[in-house]
């Protein structure tokens, strides 16, 4: 299928369970993934919605906070919640996730305190959260150099293999890596090299590509003349395209390919076709490059509205949706409150972690700055 709207690229065969109006109507390509949904409880279905709705709300709050001068920058995830929540909910606790910088819903699902993302965007921390702390769900730090995290993910997955944590058949032991990256990043050499190393080492790994149609202002056609999911196949990494605005498609496809990776069947790529409804970041002005028709087309395909309609068909009532709205409101209010309380880190933080072991030049400059600052205070 080729869309009628100029600038909108959508290619079959796509794995999709929920059509735009929320009816359960699996595409042909979805059939082989259908059994992945069997184990989901009613609560699981509701949780997907909760994750998406809370993300949408705090994402909006963060945009507001940036507008109010409380953050240097915010990259919104608005529109990509289904791709992120479905994939994140499909991962097991022992899996390790390597994000880019927009995977706020994945962070939420994995247990990262969202205020730690705010720290990065507010300029009080470079990394935000401690990825080695188990409470952060093996969600590695955001990476801003486009595509570079895909190689870290591949190296980590090689390590899982060396450690004998792949293909043992024990579901509590076998682990996989998942890396998130965008359509623009597929043009980076690092992403191609990650495919090469992943295929060569048959890593336990899923490449989760969110094709949100834009790399800042540049449309995906500039990056690729073929659908992006075909890109990895030439490297020997099998792939599938899914409707990234269908949380069930994202969940099912990711679950299947992570399971296969953990079982030792090698890497796979999932291209989630989605849309960045918000700006690239709060510094961006999409009206310069996006037509109102394009935006309208995708707003109609909003992943949360679609899924809400589906949940209603399963019996979710107004009370449920009201409860989630309340929860999202208090989540956002708490985040705002804690954002305003964030203070600049101590000057020592400039120097303290440059090296793991002492380095005389850094030590000397730290001592100098401390003495200098003290002398300035004394001078006053």
């Amino acid at each position: 299928m080729k869309s009628e709207v100029a600038g909108v690229v959508e290619v079959s065969p796509t794995v999709r369970f929920l059509s735009v109006d929320g009816t359960f109507a699996p595409t042909e390509a979805a059939e082989e993934y259908r059994s992945q949904l069997d184990g989901l409880s009613h609560d699981d279905f509701l949780q997907f919605y909760r994750d998406m709705a809370i993300t949408r709300r705090f994402d909006e709050e963060c945009t507001n906070l940036q507008r109010q001068g409380q953050m240097g920058l915010w990259p919104p995830s608005h529109g990509q919640e289904a791709a992120q929540v479905g994939s994140a909910r499909a991962a097991r606790p022992q899996d390790v996730l390597f994000p880019s910088y927009r995977e706020h819903a994945v962070a939420l699902v994995r247990g990262v305190d969202i205020v730690d993302i705010v720290k990065v965007m507010r300029g009080v921390s470079l990394g935000g959260w401690d990825a080695t702390d188990p409470s952060n769900g093996n969600f590695r730090n955001y990476t801003l150099v486009i595509g570079s995290q895909t190689l870290h993910a591949t190296g980590y997955a090689m390590g899982l293999g060396f450690d004998g944590l792949v293909g043992t058949g024990d579901p509590t032991v076998d682990a996989a890596v998942m890396t998130y990256f965008g359509d623009g990043s597929t043009s980076q050499g690092d992403v191609s090299e990650a495919f090469v190393f992943a295929a060569s080492n048959q890593t336990s790994q899923v490449f989760f590509l969110q094709n949100n149609q834009w790399a800042i202002s540049v449309p995906v056609e500039v990056q690729s003349r073929i659908p992006l999911y075909l890109r990895s196949r030439g490297f020997g990494v099998p792939s599938v395209q899914i409707d990234g605005n269908d949380v069930l498609a994202s969940y099912a496809a990711t679950r299947k390919h992570l399971d296969e990776a953990r079982a030792g069947q090698g890497p796979a790529l999932i291209e989630a076709v989605t849309y960045r409804i918000g700006a690239h970041t709060t510094s961006d002005d999409p009206t310069r490059y996006q037509t109102p028709e394009q935006l309208a087309y995708w707003v109609e395909r909003d992943p949360i509205i679609r899924y809400a309609a589906y949940l209603r068909s399963l019996g979710a009532d107004d009370a449920f949706f009201a409860e989630v709205t309340d929860e999202a409101e208090s989540f956002a209010a708490d985040l705002r409150h804690r954002t305003l309380e964030l203070e600049a880190p101590p000057l020592a933080s400039i120097f303290d972690s440059v090296y793991s072991e002492p380095h005389p030049l850094v030590a000397e400059q730290k001592a100098w700055l401390e003495a200098y600052e003290l002398s300035m205070k004394e001078a006053i």
Binding site: S125, L126, G127, D130, A131, T132, D133, R140, N141, T143, V145, S148, T150, L151, H152, A153, T154, G155, Y156, A157, M158, G159, L160, F162, D163, G189, D190, E193, A194, V196, F197, S200, S349, D352, S353, V354, Y355, S356, E357, H359, P360, L361, V362
Partner: protein, 327 residues
């Protein structure tokens, strides 16, 4: 106590790598052609046969991929030692080295150490084609988060590679390829100096010469010629370019009053410039002459038939010694 063994630098580094692989199963070697072939300089010869293909890995031909996956392996608790086949082929990996490897520890407030070593055969004198004889160490010495060292002798090669692998920080390990083959004594019983100390290798009273890697042999040669002419030259082997161990340099300059900094690398914005500036700041009253630099020229490395004009030799060093003594 065992007598020191005579062996070339390439074999000494090989022995150091073998010791590191044997001591810690998290140590991995990664690179192009390092397995069956033993590396184009044979530095990893026999190691894959001994430790297997999971410890000594022939990687795909992609420098960013090698460094980037080494970063991921380090996150997983491994201690990768990457070989870059030749100095001039490190640049495809530059981003992963400078923006990722060098910064991840800082980015994560120390939670994620990066114990990765990058071995780089570097420098000229081997008559090779373009990209095979460069001295790119200044790029890395300029980058916070990296440590940069260069052994000049087989003994240092044996010990420093093990110390680099033991470091929890990323270490750029520059191996002077023209020194791979001459033999020297290796004392297997104990390391002579720490990874980051510079070393006085010849004492003298009139002029101090400082250099690293292959240049050290040239400096010793120059010092011998000078001695024959009645000039007493002190020679310091830097060994470490980040951090630089200034104490022996400053002590020497306080004694001699004259410093000539020598390197194969282009001189502009170089390690030599940094040392010259620091010594001028810290030993100003001891100096009898301006600090002089002897370097490669600020040109691309030339065709090998004229490299002898590009590379500082003992005569070029002595010309600078004479100038320093002329003040």
């Amino acid at each position: 106590m065992a007598e020191p063994l005579e062996m070339p630098l390439a074999k000494a580094i090989n022995a150091g790598l073998r010791a590191a692989l044997a001591a810690d199963e998290k140590v991995l070697l990664m690179g192009e052609d390092i397995g069956k072939l033993g590396g184009v300089f044979r530095v990893t010869e026999g190691l894959q046969a001994e430790f297997g293909t999971k410890r000594v890995i022939d990687t795909p031909l992609a420098e960013s991929g090698i460094i980037g996956t080494a970063v991921g392996l380090a996150m997983r608790g491994y201690r990768p030692v990457c070989e870059i086949q030749f100095d001039g082929f490190i640049y495809p990996g530059f981003d992963q080295i400078t923006s990722q490897l060098a910064k991840i520890t800082n980015r994560t407030s120390g939670a994620v150490p990066m114990p990765v070593v990058i071995r780089v055969p570097y420098g000229g004198h081997i008559g090779a084609v373009e990209h095979h004889q460069e001295s790119p160490e200044a790029y890395f010495a300029h980058t916070a988060g990296l440590r940069v060292v260069s052994p000049s002798t087989p003994n240092d090669g044996y010990w420093m590679i093990q110390e680099a692998i033991a470091s929890n920080d990323p270490v750029m390990f520059f191996e002077p390829k023209s020194r791979y083959w001459p033999k020297g004594p290796v004392d297997f019983t104990s390391s002579a100096a720490g990874l980051h100390s510079s070393r006085l290798v010849r004492t003298g009273t009139d002029v101090t010469l400082v250099g690293h890697g292959a240049m050290v042999a040239t400096l010793l040669q120059a010092a011998q010629v000078a001695a024959d002419e009645g000039v007493s030259v002190e020679v310091i082997d830097l060994r470490s370019l980040s951090p630089i161990d200034y104490a022996p340099i400053l002590a020497s300059v306080e004694k001699t009053g004259r410093l000539v900094v020598c390197q194969e690398a282009p001189g502009a914005v170089s390690v030599g410039s940094e040392i010259a500036a620091t010594v001028a700041e810290r030993a100003f009253y001891s100096l009898q002459a301006p600090v002089l630099r002897v370097s490669g020229f600020d040109t691309p490395y030339p065709s090998s038939k004229v490299e002898a004009y590009y590379l500082p030799d003992a005569d070029r060093v002595l010309e600078a010694v004479d100038r320093a003594l002329g003040y």
